[in-house]
Amino acid sequence: MKMSLPTLGYSRTAIALHWAIALLIFCAFPLGIYMADLPFSPGRLKLYSYHKWIGVTVFLLALARLAWRWQHPAPPPPAGMPAWQRIASIATHHLLYLLLFAVPISGWLMSSAKGFQTVYLGIIPLPDLLTKDKALGDALLLVHQILNFTLATLVVTHLTAALKHYFVDRDEVLGRMIPLLNQRKPR
């Protein structure tokens, strides 16, 4: 008897959303660190806008991803995985999902508090949820930074675990997100 596909792996949509968001985070994170120390210039203003646009895009894709996942549950962990690893995996994934929303929202709120509205792609103005308040803006900057370094730590954890599954456990976990790997490696 053949097992049905959805329990084995992720759907193409889930894989595409995962990598799209990953790519955007890998752009936005270093960009955020780089731009903050730039001297005042048109280039700096542009980068700030691009950074915000990427953040809004991540937020929208995360929404789509959550909706998709609700309808298409993730495949179960490989059989025989220790309980602590299962718990760690669930915790990491939940936190990652949470941060996919929390990081853009903190940036958006910070922009509002600092008095610089976010205008998506320079066209669609996002409502300012907060009124201008310098102290609040500075506090939100700190929140945005802390959330981002938490996100970075979790991404490193996520990546390390994925590589461990591939190189140490030699199971199909990484291949579920990179289908090419499972196709090449006969099991």
Partner: protein
């Protein structure tokens, strides 16, 4: 020599109420001059915190009306220390060299009920251009209220030189929103 100077000063002081009897000062708390620009599509509002104005206006006889406005450029506040430091620089307002911006009317014409067109000379950063500001007028509790939006092009006044000439980052169009309320008589 000194006596003459004193006499002249006294004379001027005594005469001044007669020379400009109708000139009203502004109610600073109720008046505002704000410049709105767009930066990467984001509206950015800057307030000129200090300015003075003299207005002499009778809506029945607009042609005889006149107004002048003097803005303290260093008081420009975008609400962000980085931005304020930047806009005072040579490339922008060059506040050290051009501390004042002025608007002086040359002709006021009616333009519909409660509306007037105030033509005049606008000087920013040492550059003077003829502009026409659309103004709405109303009288409120013994005070005269003049409101309007004057669109200008920042590059015509050399505001934003060098790399800042790029209008893709900071748009050329700037709106000067003003609300001038005369002091109670």
């Amino acid at each position: 020599m000194r006596k003459t100077a004193i006499a002249l000063a006294l004379g001027a002081a005594l005469l001044s109420p007669f020379i400009a009897p109708a000139l009203a000062q502004v109610d600073a708390a109720k008046s505002s001059v704000v410049a709105v620009s767009r930066q990467m599509g984001v509206p950015v509002e800057g307030k000129f915190r200090r300015f003075s104005a003299q207005v002499s206006f009778d809506p029945a006889r607009p042609a005889e009306g006149k107004a002048s406005l003097e803005i303290d450029i260093a008081s420009f506040d975008l609400g962000d220390a980085d931005f304020n430091r930047e806009t005072a620089k040579k490339e922008w307002f060059d506040a050290a060299k051009f501390p004042k911006a002025t608007f002086v009317t040359s002709a006021i014409k009616p333009a519909g009920p409660g509306k007037f067109d105030a033509a005049g000379k606008l000087t920013i950063k040492g550059k003077t251009l003829d502009v026409v500001a659309p103004v709405t007028y109303k009288a409120e509790g013994g005070q005269q209220v003049f409101e309007g939006v004057l669109p200008i092009k920042r590059l015509q006044f050399n505001i934003g030189e060098g790399e800042w000439k790029d209008t893709a980052t900071v748009a050329d169009d700037v709106q000067i929103k003003f609300r001038i309320v005369t002091a109670k008589k």
